[in-house]
Symmetry: C2
Subunit: 276 residues, 2 copies
Amino acid sequence: MGRRGMSAGEFLHPFDAAIALAPQGNGSYLGQMSGSYANFIGPFGGTTAATLLNAAYSHPERIGEPLSLTVNFAAPIADAEFTVTAKPVRTNRTTQHWTIELVQADAVAATATVVFALRRPTWSALELRPPEAPAAAKVDLLPVAGLPAWAQNYEFRIIGGGFNPGSGERSHSMTRLWIRDRPQRPLDFLSLAAISDAFFPRLFVRRQRYSPIGTVSMTVNFHADSALLARQGSVELLGRARAQRFRDGYFDQVAELWGIGGELLATTHQMVYFKE
Amino acid sequence: MGRRGMSAGEFLHPFDAAIALAPQGNGSYLGQMSGSYANFIGPFGGTTAATLLNAAYSHPERIGEPLSLTVNFAAPIADAEFTVTAKPVRTNRTTQHWTIELVQADAVAATATVVFALRRPTWSALELRPPEAPAAAKVDLLPVAGLPAWAQNYEFRIIGGGFNPGSGERSHSMTRLWIRDRPQRPLDFLSLAAISDAFFPRLFVRRQRYSPIGTVSMTVNFHADSALLARQGSVELLGRARAQRFRDGYFDQVAELWGIGGELLATTHQMVYFKE
C-alpha cells in the first residue's frame, strides 16, 4: 500500500500536495503550508500563488480558463493551517472575475484576483521573439544542494545569467534557462503560475550575492489554453527573466515562459522588496 | 464667480472632476461617471483605474505611496452614480495592502488591489533603456478631433507607431510618443495611473483599423516616489508601448512611462479582449 493509503501505482506529486485545499463549502478551503516548498522565510511564492489560483480554479462555479492572475503577498505564511476564500464577483458571457483571500491566525496574509476567460479562434500574432537557446539536453542541470527546499522541486538548466554568489556584480540581471517540475509533472495552469515565480530574484543575479528580499505583488498573464498546455506535457519550458529598475528598496522582475514550437505560454511581472 | 461656486482663480481640472469621490464613511465613496472622459463604450479605463486608486489613496488610514496597482474591468460602467469601497486588509511596517470594489446597480463592475509602500534610499540601478526620441516640441501634436471624448484630455505627440485607420497592417505594434494632460496638470500617482492606459489599443496600431476591444485587467508598477513626480510637474512624459502576443480573442499590452532625466516612472501591462 502506498503512502497516505493510496493504492500501488498512485503517486501524489509534491506540487499537488503543496497546493492541496480541502473544501469547506461556500468558496472556503483549508490549506497547510508544505515544508517541501519552503523558502528562506515562509513558503515559495509560486506555490502560494498556485494555491490561491487553485481555490478559484477548482470551484464548481468557475467558467473558462485563467487569463490573468495577480497575487499580493501581504505577510509571510507560517508553517500552519490557513483558510483560502474565493468569491466569483462577476460572471459575464465569456469572462469571470474572482477575488481571493488567504487568512492565517485571523489576519490576511495574501490576496489575489483572477480573471477566467473562454477563448475562441481569432486573428493571432506573436510579436515577442523567443530567446536563443541550445537544446535543453545540452545544458547542464543546476546542482540544487544547498538551495532552499522549494528549488529541489525543479530542474533548472541555466543557459546564461546564473547565480554564483561572490562572483562580482554584473551589468545586467538577464537570465535564460530551461525549467520543469522535478519529478516531472504534466504542465497545467497551476504549475505554470508557480513556475512564473521560480526565477531567482533579479537582485541576486545582478549583484551576485544573497540579500533579504520579498515579492510584494506578482501578475501572471496566460497566453495559452489548456490544449496548448496538454501538448507541452512535461517537456522543459524556456524562460527568460530580467529586472528593469531597482530603486529605493523595490525592484521589478519581468519574465516569459515559452513552450515547444516557440509558443509563448505566459508572461509575468512582479515588484519585489529588497533591504539594501 | 467660477463654475461650481468656486471663487475666481480656482479651477477644477477635468481629470480631478472625473475621479472625484464623495466619502460616505467606512472606506465607502460615491462617484459618477464623467462624460468628459467617455470612450466608445463606458468611460476611459484610465480614469476608472485612477478612481479606484483614489479611494485608497485619499483614505485617512493610508500609509506610504503607490507601488503596484491592479485593476480588473468586470463590466462597462454606465453613465450613472457608483459606489467605491476601499478596505486596508493588511498594514505592515513599510507596506499596506488594499482591496477595492466598484459597484453600480448592485453589481460589481470593477475590482482592484493596491500596495502602498514607504521607500527609503538603497542601492539602485536602471536596466531598461529609454527609447530614442526627438524633443517633444519637435513632434507634431496629434489632432484629436473625431477621437472619443477621453482623448481630448491628452496631448499626444506620436514619434512612431501611430494609428492611421486603413493604412494597412504592420509587422509590429510598437509606439513611441510624448504625452501629458490637456490642459496641463502637475503629474501625480493618480494621473500617472490613468496615462498608463492612454496608449491606443495595440490591435488598432498593428492592424491599422478599429475593432471591438476591452481591457480586462491592467497592472501599473510605480518606480517613482512623489518627489520625482513633483520634479516632473507638467512636462511631457515619454511613452513606449507594444504587444507581445495576440491569441484567440486576447492580447497583451506592455508600456513604459519615462520622465525628465531619463527616469523610469512606471511600467504597465494589460490583457485586452478583442473580437476578431
